[in-house]
Amino acid sequence: MDRAKNVGTTSQAAKRKRKVVSLDKKKARSGWWFILPFLIGFLTVYLPIIITSIKFSMLNTVASTGHFIGFDNYIEMLTTHQSYTQTLLSGIKQLVFDIPAIVVFSLFMAVLLNQKVLGRAVFRAILFVPVILGTGLIDELDNIGNTAIDTMKNASAASKGSTGTSASAIISNYDLARLFEGMKVGTDLVKYVTDLVNNIYGIINRSGVQLLIFLAGLQSISPAIYESCSIDGATTWETFWKVTFPMVSPMILVNTVYTVIDAFTSQTNSMMQLIMSEHTNSETMSAAMAWFYFLVVILIIAIVSAVVSAFVFYQRRD
């Protein structure tokens, strides 16, 4: 009985439902208009460039006159090239050490800058200076035997090995090593920490964008959560690990991926230097090197983001 009565209404309901869906779809389809510039550009400019570049990597020596040799360039660079695999491995190793340092440092700095520090506005302005001024040309100029920068870079390295502290050193490596010796924590860790201290200039200058992203994340945490925490009697330490850290964990993912991309594609990277120097030698070999390198980067990004996203907490939003 009921079923028979409902036949008419269900067909009407189905009609109405379909209409609603189609309106939604119509709206959704207008999204294509917005991304049209990118689509056209990607298909008619970027894709041909990528295809040409891949084609180059499979040619013999000179791009304009070479003939097709398949994957020979790739095989040659992986088996017989004198420094490719070495540079690649050392670059990856360096990165694995640098990622935690940059991410932790920028998170720490962002937390500090989010508190009410004396002269916060000034410190913020100074810490974002590398974002604006430390790129491209300036970055390159700073890296070609620049005396003003080298004193900064080598400030702590200058006293390496010597027992006394040199006048120009900020922190003596030796003092640091001696401090750790007493703790009995193993030489590898000591070396890691001293390397980080040596590299502090690079780390500070490379963590500008990450700092901005973390600061944005910290600002978006509702103060009400902190209030309820303090009413429940949580200490600052507990609040950090139970509230701040989970809330910024999506940003940790973003920043980790950004750090990998930034480190791998910066022109001062040793791998990039190798690719560029190979370019004058053999254009096609350099293209092959770059493409293999790119595959490795993608692989690393996939692994890193898979590992990090296992720990990411997403706040459920209504």
């Binding site: 970027y46 302005a125 040309l137 790119f294």
Partner: protein, 359 residues
Amino acid sequence: MNNTEQQQTKVLKESKNRIRVDFERTSRWTRFRIKYLNSNYAVMLLYRMFRFLLLLGVAFVILFPFYSKIFGSFMDREDFVDVTVKLIPKHWTIDQYKYIITENGFFKAMGNTFILSLVCALLQTITCCIIAYGFAKFKFKFNKLLFMLVIFTMVVPHIVLRYAMISEFNYFKPLYLEAFWNGIKNIAGEGGFIAGFKSAKGFNLLNSYWPMAILSVTGLAYKNGLYIFMLRQFFKGVPDELEESAYIDGSGVFRTFVTIIIPLSVPMMLTVFIFAFSWQWTDNFYTNMFFNNAGPKLIPSIVRVPKSLSTDASFAGKKNYDSAIRNTCSLLIILPLIILYLFFQKSLVQGIERSGITG
């Protein structure tokens, strides 16, 4: 009861606006002791000092190179062989600035780069905004897949594409229209469509502003993937109800975007603009690639030792002197950016903060 107690308090002094009343209070010393002389306050004070010193140290590391660059730029030739000169020059001179500006074609390069950066930054901000809005608010098919392509353009190291990019813009074929036209014309001839398609010559766009403009309009220029990502996160944070109410009032998708979304996102767009402008300003990869000596002079061309300042190899401080001259060039290059940064620093940070970038 309460009233009587209040009446007991003794009025010390009374004027039109103020009244001083004497009531029993713990002594000053006790209050001081309880407030300040405890372990909590000591720990807090220590922490504050540590925090401040740490920030001071980091600021020092960032600013010190600028400091030594600035002093180095005022040094005379003799100061570089004098071992007693560490930071502060003995012979102050503005020769370095003078000769770089007069002999390296400073103002011309500055003007050209300014036009290029301004146009590129404006185009990039607008296109990235449009593209990001499309990705953020419309659930069309392949949305996520296409967004992966945006990330892809960000991840590909540009050096990989160097040679291919030069050849692309050396024989640039707008939308392959000419190629298709030639192919159709040749469809009955020898080799058919493909031979005709390949015969298209294209334009040589090297040494002009066009390659940068084309890359900017299509959102493929330097770090545009990052801008699209940032703006997409920002638009995702804009509540859908805003647009829905506009749709109900009869506004179309594009009108809603222009009249409602754009005014909302001005701080974020300003942030992207500052990034785009300053990264384009100091860019040397694209400018070296697309402009060789024949093209308009741009900023990377002024970074060299001017003739009047060049020293022969016998000069002991040559390495340091040349390095100082290059630093002076870089100071002159970033001067406009510093001015821009000082003006917009606050809104830059605010724009980022409001974006609420989340993964």
